[in-house]
């Protein structure tokens, strides 16, 4: 856990870079420091590992004031990742990853083992351990950067725009990979970025800063839909509904236990048990154990069994996906409804355009707009 209490930083030339900032990063949480350049987010982060000294206030790391540690001891327990240019070019990938374990006095064999384990975790081939940074692509180097920060298995991680210098496609890969890793390792992370999409995607919490002050410290959802003032609103932008699609999970919006058709019943029987008030057309079809098979469009068929008229079995989404993935599938397949399945391919719910619209509308209304 990291606690900042009324932290300020005034540089020697009198500029107040950080002005009375307080927030708490809970254990296992990823907190994004977000804001335009020059807002003090990087300075704030660097005060945690004392690369920048603080002028006022205090910072606690798991309850201990960071000033009570010896400087290098403090840093050795905090993983530190910056853009890929921070790798040591004269050391191999393995040596780079082993730096902090070595500083902490781990024996050679254990260090090497750890380096190999981390390479695997960041999905780099094992033989990269003896390559030099210059032999790797930018994206690969950045993976090494993340692995290096995790070298000695620190509880706390500071990441300074770690994916900033990477092309957009690789960046998305790295973000997804990192989120996957974070689900397993559950580190307490402070992550600096100026990219609001990255912040919304990565953050459990976002600390939005401007001019050295903390403007809003909140969940990504609340930053989007309950902006505290016009600065936050402008920073979020007009397309907050689209950004919000990334934040809302399908399972929060879908209609559970929808009407389903069994693959072996006859079309006539199915039509017989339909409620006649709604204009239902597409009905998901399941097998005996609830497994999803496809859809039947009852406005087109009259006779035979349901199984004979199955279609569109590929139009489905996982219960863990977010709305923008679901919406993308619906748009690209030109379908109005989408079956939501669990990990065993069993039908859990149904999602329609109307449901997405309703969810975003509610989110929007939940914020008291100025």
């Amino acid at each position: 856990m990291i606690e900042l209490e009324h932290v300020s930083k005034v540089f020697a030339d009198g500029t107040k870079a950080v002005d009375d900032v307080s927030f708490i990063v809970q254990e296992g949480e990823l907190c994004v420091l977000l804001g335009p350049s020059g807002c003090g987010k990087t300075t704030t982060m660097k005060m945690i590992n004392r690369l920048v000294s603080l002028t006022e206030g205090r910072i606690l790391l798991n309850g201990t004031n960071v000033l009570d540690f010896e400087e290098t001891e403090l840093r050795k327990q905090i993983g530190y990742a910056i853009q890929e240019i921070g790798l040591f070019p004269h050391m191999t990938v393995g040596e780079n990853i082993e730096v902090v374990p070595e500083l902490r006095g781990w024996p050679k064999a254990k260090r090497r083992e750890r380096a190999a384990e981390l390479l695997q975790m960041v999905k780099l081939p094992a033989e990269f351990i003896d390559r030099y940074p210059k032999e790797l692509s930018g994206g690969q180097r950045q993976r090494v950067g993340v692995a290096r920060a995790l070298g000695a298995d620190p509880e706390v991680l500071l990441m300074d725009e770690p994916f900033g210098a990477i092309d957009p496609i690789t960046r998305v890969d790295l973000q997804n990979e990192f989120l996957r890793i974070q689900q397993d390792i559950r580190k307490t992370i402070v992550f600096v970025t100026h990219d609001i999409y990255e912040a919304i995607k990565m953050g459990d919490k976002i600390a939005l800063m401007n001019g050295g002050r903390l403007i809003q410290f909140d969940s990504p959802f609340n930053i989007l839909f309950q902006p505290q003032d016009s600065f936050v609103q402008d920073f979020v932008g007009r397309d907050r509904a689209l950004k919000g699609l990334q934040l809302i999970r399908v399972k929060e919006v879908m209609r559970c236990s929808p009407l389903t058709a069994r693959w072996d019943e006859s079309v006539e029987a199915l039509k017989g048990r339909l409620p006649n008030d709604e204009g239902i057309e597409e009905i998901p079809v399941v097998d005996d154990s609830g497994g999803f098979l496809g859809y039947i469009d009852i406005s087109l068929v009259q006779t035979g069994t349901v199984g004979e008229h199955l279609g569109h079995h590929q139009v489905k989404a996982s219960i863990d996906s977010v709305l923008d993935e679901a919406l993308s599938i619906m748009l690209s397949c030109e379908r109005k409804t989408l079956a939501i399945l669990d990990h065993d391919n069993r039908l859990k719910g149904l999602l329609s355009f109307g449901d997405i619209q309703r969810a975003l509308g509610e989110a929007d209304r939940s914020g008291a707009r100025p």
């Binding site: 290098t72 840093r75 070019p89 730096v99 210059k134």
Partner: protein, 241 residues
Amino acid sequence: MKRQVVLITFLAILLGITVWVTGQGKIGIYSTFTWEQILYCSWSHLKMVVVAVAIGTIIGVPLGVLVTRPGFTRLAIPVIGGANIGQTIPSLAVIAIMAPLLGFGFNSAIVALFIYGLLPIVRNSFTSIRNIDPAIIEAAKGMGMSRGQIARRIELPLARPVIMTGIRVSTVITVGTAELAVLVGGAGLGKITLTGVFARETLIILQGAAPTAAMAIILGFILETFEDWMTPRGLKIDKQK
């Protein structure tokens, strides 16, 4: 590989000239220098160069590195500027001024050569440290390395090749400047070259100049090999694959 062929060709030409001129025995009213005299002069030339560059390295490298350290950066401009001035003054003047100051002899020649060869060493030592990407140093700091560890494990290996280049450049320059050392009582191949100049005999000039050029090429090559050997492997890779 191609470069080595060029170097060897040059060396062969220079040595060929020396052998040919020395074989003449007599040119007009002058006798050419004997092999013994040439070897003696070469040896004293080499001695001056090695001593002057060695002192330059011992003083110049720490000086150049020192002015990159926090607290000493204010000294960077005077130090680099001072070394610059040392080299702006014509080499002949630097050498000539040593005679009235230190008297004639080996020592004043060494001091003059040292001053004149200092700049490349100081400047390269300075830039070698300062040109290291600040992100690398910050990463090292952020990972918990102490100042000493950063200096030993990060800065020194990254700076080494550039420092070595400075020493090499200084050596090659000093081989040339040492031609003039004879004016203040030093020895060296300048003795032969200047004899030729005063006698207006081109061939005798060549007898001194050709071995000097050969020495510069050989020393340059040796130091370049050394430089390559001192460069960390990870820095030699140009592009991926």
